[in-house]
């Protein structure tokens, strides 16, 4: 498949944004600027990027606890994301959600999610909306390998299949659910094989090769838009960090880590762009600098935003009722 240069550059920019955003988030968490739990997408950039490069703003995605990458790949705002991680008023959720609950209705981002497996079901609903309203939209559902053992995976794929919903189920098989390696949490090798149980086509691809992901997603999305129903794509990838910041990842064998660092998607796409003259080395440096600037800007934006007013805590629960606050 021939991918156009502007698409490649665009994908590179997104991957690089994810890489740098996450690297900063890692440092800011370590410094204490970001509270709560942070699950980084480092190492998995090619997955969200390769998939989302095929989507429009009006297409939907559902995400997970490890959501930063999906949101950036889908075109979410770095500023509002970073401000949300800081718990600031200008954040995506006015500071109420934090890292695990970022959403952007204007970009079809139906939310990161703290409940493993919840996104599977929400995706079914979004897929139904698109089909019901004949809007031509698709919904991409991102989820981890370990989440495929949750009952929601099963129920969602079954329903999506019988209703032929326009959904692409994208499994990010990073080999682990926290400390549980895939070899211990399920007795199969390829999660793509689970499609058989629902008569849903399943494909496994190298999730660190953004072109392989792009191509598989392209086909599945076309199939979905065409009314042929869902596809299950398994992207084999690896998380560079521990499960969340604070987890040293002692359960990840050293050789395994080394093996996967060889397959790091960022150097790969950079090498590809240079080798194939998509950009010159100078242009590449410029792109990098552009991204660094965006990230710096996001941090500045987040720093400058105030914390939310206490009164806001009792708003936004209902569309019409504001709850009682307390006198302190």
């Amino acid at each position: 498949m021939k991918v156009k240069n502007n698409v490649i550059i665009n994908m590179y920019l997104r991957m690089k944004r994810i890489r740098e955003f996450e690297t900063k988030a890692m440092n800011l968490f370590a410094e204490g600027s970001i509270p709560g739990f942070v699950h980084l997408y480092l190492g998995e950039e090619a997955v969200a990027t390769g998939v989302c490069a095929n989507l429009d703003d009006k297409d939907y995605i559902t995400s997970t606890h490890r959501g930063h990458g999906h949101i950036i790949a889908k075109g979410g705002s770095l500023n509002e994301m970073m401000a949300e991680l800081f718990g600031k008023e200008a954040g995506y959720c006015k500071g109420k959600g934090g890292s695990m609950h970022i959403a952007d209705a204007t970009k079809g981002i139906l939310g990161a999610n703290g409940i493993v497996g919840a996104g599977h079901n929400i995706a079914v609903g979004a897929g139904l909306s698109a089909q019901y309203q004949k809007s031509g939209q698709v919904c991409v559902c991102f989820f981890g390998d370990a989440s495929t053992n949750q009952g929601t995976f099963h129920e969602a794929l079954n329903l999506a299949s019988i209703w032929k919903l326009p959904i692409v189920f994208v499994c990010e098989n990073n080999l682990y659910g926290i400390s549980m390696s895939q070899t211990r949490h399920q007795a199969i090798k390829d999660i793509a094989d689970r499609g058989v149980a629902y008569n849903v086509p399943g494909v496994a691809v190298d999730g660190n090769d953004v072109f392989a992901v792009y191509e598989a997603a392209d086909e599945a999305i076309k199939r979905a838009r065409d009314g042929q129903g869902p596809t299950l794509i398994e992207c084999k990838t690896y998380r560079h960090r521990g499960h969340f910041e604070g987890d040293a990842g002692a359960y990840k064998p050293k050789e395994e880590q080394e093996f996967w660092m060889q397959k790091d998607p960022l150097p790969r796409i950079e090498k590809y762009m240079i080798d194939n003259k998509v950009v010159t080395p100078e242009e590449l440096e410029k792109l990098k600098a552009q991204v660094m600037g965006e990230i710096d800007e996001a941090i500045k934006f987040a720093n400058e935003s105030p914390y939310p007013e206490l009164a806001s805590a009792v708003q936004d629960i209902y569309s019409d009722i504001v709850e009682e606050g307390r006198v302190r």
Partner: protein, 322 residues
């Protein structure tokens, strides 16, 4: 004026909203041509077709989850759980998703959806098909909870529930489906507005669902013995019509709360706690609660009717306590 059953009124409410708004659809197990386990959706499949009255597999999680996802993206689903007892299977989608999405996302997404929840005992359906679990739902910020006791309320509350931009839990009592009643108003009953089902001066009975009828029967018996009982039906558990409760308590100074749920940890306790927190000075006597005994619901008919409360229990408690 029209006479309808409680079940028909629920259906009529759904039908009216489906006619009005093409984005309203129904989903659930056997809700299509079969008409639902209790026949409440009968006829709707023929009228609106398979896209708008959707049979699902037995997968309560994805039934509610699909409602959530489609509601966040522009539709207005009405999901039916066959029994409220199956909430336990699809609870996450309600509690951690539907109820919290709006808040977590900073108020930027609405989740207008209705979940129909047939509850209650009295038909020998035993421990896993007879529960009254509405209290759980009231404990979840982000959900609204209604519980009609009459055909009129069933219709009016359904219209409001579907119009509401928030997740509304529509609790039904399965032993009321065949209850007939007059339906005079074909208009929405606002959520949060209770109803005095019988006026009285000596004592307020706050009752929900089927217990409203037990309370009314008890009030008749008690009237003969000189107790002038007021029966207050909150109709909406959240938002709760505290003003109406206050007015009544300030008049009668005595309160009995009658709900069919397991007494321990029930919503009856919440109502009692609100009254003793906010209306203590109006009270002349202990707040008495009548509920089901703290047991699972037994199968055998006499055991079941012993465990769930009735009019006699109310009469007895009134005579003992007030």
């Amino acid at each position: 004026m029209k006479t309808m059953t409680y079940g028909e009124a629920i259906r009529e409410g759904m039908r009216m909203k489906m006619q009005e708004d093409p984005n309203v659809y129904i989903l659930g197990e056997d809700v299509g041509a079969f008409g639902g386990c209790f026949g409440v959706t009968a006829g709707l499949f023929d009228e609106f077709g398979p896209d708008r009255v959707r049979d699902t597999p037995i997968s309560e999680g994805v039934i509610i989850g699909c409602a959530v996802g489609s509601s966040a993206t522009g539709l207005r689903p009405i999901a039916e759980l066959m029994f409220i007892d199956f909430l336990t299977v699809g609870m996450d989608q309600l509690v951690n998703q539907a109820a919290k999405m709006r808040y977590m996302f900073g108020g930027k997404i609405n989740v207008p959806m209705v979940v129909r929840l047939p509850g209650g005992a009295g038909v020998q359906a035993a421990a896993q098909h007879s529960q009254s679990l509405e209290a759980w739902l009231t404990h979840v910020p982000g959900l609204k909870v209604v519980f009609p006791s009459t055909p009129q309320d069933a219709l009016g509350l359904m219209l409001s529930a579907v119009e509401d931009d928030n997740p509304v839990m529509y609790v039904e009592h399965k032993a009321l489906y065949a209850l007939k009643g007059e339906v005079n108003d074909i208009k929405p009953i606002p959520l949060g507005v209770g109803d005095i089902k019988r006026e009285g001066n000596d004592l307020t009975i706050i009752a929900t669902g089927k217990m409203v009828h037990e309370a009314l029967a008890a009030a008749e018996t008690l009237a003969k013995e000189g107790y002038d009982v007021e029966v207050l039906d909150p109709r909406t558990l959240f938002p709760l019509d505290k003003d109406l409760i206050r007015q009544s308590v300030e008049k009668t100074h005595k309160v009995l709360i009658a709900t069919e749920e397991t007494k321990r940890g029930g919503y009856g306790g919440e109502i009692s706690a609100i009254i003793s927190e906010e209306m203590f000075d109006s009270l002349d006597a202990p707040i008495v609660r009548i509920g089901a005994l703290d047991t699972p619901i037994p199968f055998s008919p006499m055991l079941e009717s012993y465990v769930i409360p009735n009019a006699k229990d109310i009469v007895h408690a009134v005579k003992e306590n007030f």
